[in-house]
């Protein structure tokens, strides 16, 4: 079918407009990250691209001080970056392992038919409406402001995604394959470990990346359950102020850029499965 030229032009016009709207804010942050202090806020003659591009902002957030800047910080990005990585990875591991095992049991053995819905419920409520007892509990068991306390809650709140995502992958594995292995004498555990798990390996990787993005993106839970010791990247970014109280636009933009990169890269990697992940398997692409 030949598409009329007019329709084509209209389509491209809209698509490009939409992309421009998407890129506009991103571009501002990206260029801001490379702008030196005098260009952050210019009343008149604002420019999109830095006149004197600099890596000063990155230098500052990485080391806590930068050449030519009088201000310095008592901590650089390394601590928060490591904190974000450790908690995201541990939380992801917890969610993926428990989610995989339980979704397999539900998908194959048909036990706990209530589990899928009760797991889903975890995503329904605003965290702040249910966090009071959690904060009390966390304080009680000494989990506040620790790596494991935050990992634990991450693992729990992302469990629904892991559970549903893995369930859709298990549902796609033909039961016949497992039956064949069972007939030839494999135990249930062996079938799961040696047959099914290798088959869903790509799904497992997708699930891990997906859950990692969610954990990495968290702001609220870290705000509620950590204080001074365990500072994750988003918290660090939003609380960054110079000792003199001035805004540090360039540094914040640099931090935002660093924080934004992993999820965008991972997200593009698992693009094909984003739909089923985000809709709890209700929809596939």
């Amino acid at each position: 079918m030949r598409t009329p030229l007019r329709a084509l032009v209209i389509r491209y016009a809209f698509v490009i407009l939409a992309c421009a709207v998407v890129i506009y804010p991103l571009l501002w942050m990206i260029t801001m990250a490379f702008k030196p202090f005098p260009e952050w806020t210019t009343g008149t003659g604002m420019t999109w691209f830095p006149k004197q591009p600099t890596l000063q902002n990155f230098e500052f957030v990485i080391f806590g001080h930068a050449q030519g800047l009088v201000v310095s910080l008592d901590r650089g990005i390394v601590g928060p970056l490591a904190a974000s990585l450790i908690t995201s990875i541990c939380g992801t591991a917890l969610a993926v392992v428990t989610g995989t095992l339980s979704s397999y049991a539900v998908a194959r053995f048909g036990i706990m038919s209530l589990l899928p819905l009760s797991v889903l419920q975890l995503r329904l409520f605003p965290p702040l409406a249910v966090m009071i007892p959690v904060m009390v509990m966390w304080a009680f068991i000494g989990a506040v402001d620790t790596w494991w306390g935050l990992s634990l809650i991450y693992g729990i709140v992302t469990l629904p995604f892991a559970f549903w995502l893995m369930k859709t992958f298990f549902d796609e594995v033909p039961v016949e394959i497992e039956d064949a292995a069972r007939v030839s004498g494999c135990s249930y555990w062996r079938v799961f470990y040696r047959i099914t798990l290798p088959i869903v390996k790509p799904g497992l990787a997708t699930c891990a990346l997906f859950v990692f993005i969610l954990n990495w993106s968290d702001y609220l839970l870290a705000l509620l359950l950590t204080q001074k010791n365990w500072v994750t990247l988003p918290i660090y970014m939003s609380t960054l102020t110079s000792p003199m109280g001035g805004q540090m636009y360039g540094m914040k933009a640099a931090l935002g850029l660093i924080a934004a990169i992993p999820p965008v890269v991972f997200g593009l990697l698992i693009q094909k499965h984003l739909v089923r992940g985000l809709t709890f398997g209700a929809l596939k692409q």
Binding site: L101, L122, L128, I132, G256, T279
Partner: protein, 322 residues
């Protein structure tokens, strides 16, 4: 799905002697591995434990605390909160708490504008992407990026954009004194714009998946019967996407109701309380006022109401399906 009971019954007589011997020698775990029910139990155990840990005990505690005046300021341990038992005063208070209802109203307002806007924009974009065209995959990837960006970073980005000296005023040829985030009327608009920027891609993604699920043959058949693309869209595509649309709207409404990060970074609920949604209100009550038992009461009320709505919704959906 394997029927666990049937499996065990038929398994026993057919079992070869060697397997039996093998099982005996390796003890309990070998037995577990041969019984789907037992193995299933071990498989769901961690998830169920986590759920119990995060649902049952906290729920009981929340109910308990919500009936007291307890706050961490008292220096009284939480389990001795009964000392300040107040027989439901918190619940009576929330009914007449203007600030709470105002926050709820703002949340609903935000949802009522942002979700339909995202839906319509997403639908339009998905419509553009229904057919193949050069660069489709590339544009698709670009359009998806916003939803992958950490919400706090999105907050930061729009915080930067809406500064008086920022690019928005510059692009719109407005004076640098034109305030967004500190203006009572425009702060909410800025928040809605940020949320829409981030989450229209999700709508787009879901709706496009739904649209592509409509068999191409049916659309061609429609065209050949004399329908224009638009008629096909209204008469075939949209009716077929009913459930997908429902999923997208529910998903976004739930998330929109929970909105926190973006607003917290952009305006902290300000100016005044102009962008204070329910989550920000609860945050302020928790950390600024340390009014924990009251927050627990509000939380439980929200929990109860949302569960009620969800149950109604689910039974409605089940009825529609059956």
């Amino acid at each position: 799905m394997t029927d666990a009971t049937a499996e065990t019954i038929t398994d026993t007589p057919a079992e070869p002697a060697s397997a039996k011997a093998n099982r005996r020698s390796r003890g309990y775990w070998a037995g577990v591995a041969h019984d789907s029910r037992k193995l299933g139990f071990w498989f769901v155990a961690p998830a169920v434990l986590l759920l119990l840990f995060i649902v049952v005990f906290p729920l009981a505690m929340q109910l308990y605390l919500s009936l007291t005046w307890w706050t961490p300021l008292d220096g009284v341990r939480w389990y001795r909160a009964y000392e300040s038992f107040n027989s439901g005063d918190n619940y009576a208070r929330l009914l007449t708490d203007g600030a709470l209802w105002a926050a709820l109203g703002r949340t609903v307002l935000l949802m009522a504008i942002a979700v339909p806007a995202q839906f319509l924009l997403g639908l339009g974009l998905a419509y553009l992407f229904m057919e193949q065209f050069v660069g489709r995959k590339f544009f698709y990837s670009i359009l998806l990026t916003p939803m992958m960006i950490v919400p706090a970073v999105v907050g930061l980005i729009f915080f930067l954009l809406f500064q008086g000296t920022g690019p928005v005023n510059d692009t719109l040829r407005l004076p640098t004194s034109f305030a967004w985030l500190t203006d009572v009327h425009r702060a909410m608009l800025a928040v809605i714009i940020a949320d829409t920027w981030q989450w229209t891609p999700l709508m787009f993604l879901i709706l496009l998946a739904g649209m592509l699920g409509v068999p191409a043959d049916q659309l061609t058949a429609g065209r050949l019967l004399g329908a224009s693309n638009w008629q096909n869209f209204c008469k075939i595509v949209l009716p077929r996407m009913k459930s997908v649309i429902a999923i997208a709207l529910v998903l976004r409404s739930v998330e929109c109701f929970k909105i926190f990060d973006v607003i917290f970074v952009m305006t902290k609920g300000g100016p005044g309380v102009e962008t204070e949604t329910i989550s920000l209100f609860l945050y302020k009550k928790t950390f600024a006022d340390l009014d924990w038992s009251y927050v627990a009461a509000i939380g439980l009320t929200i929990l109860f109401s949302l569960s009620l709505i969800a149950a109604r919704g689910l039974s409605y959906a089940a009825k529609r399906k059956g």
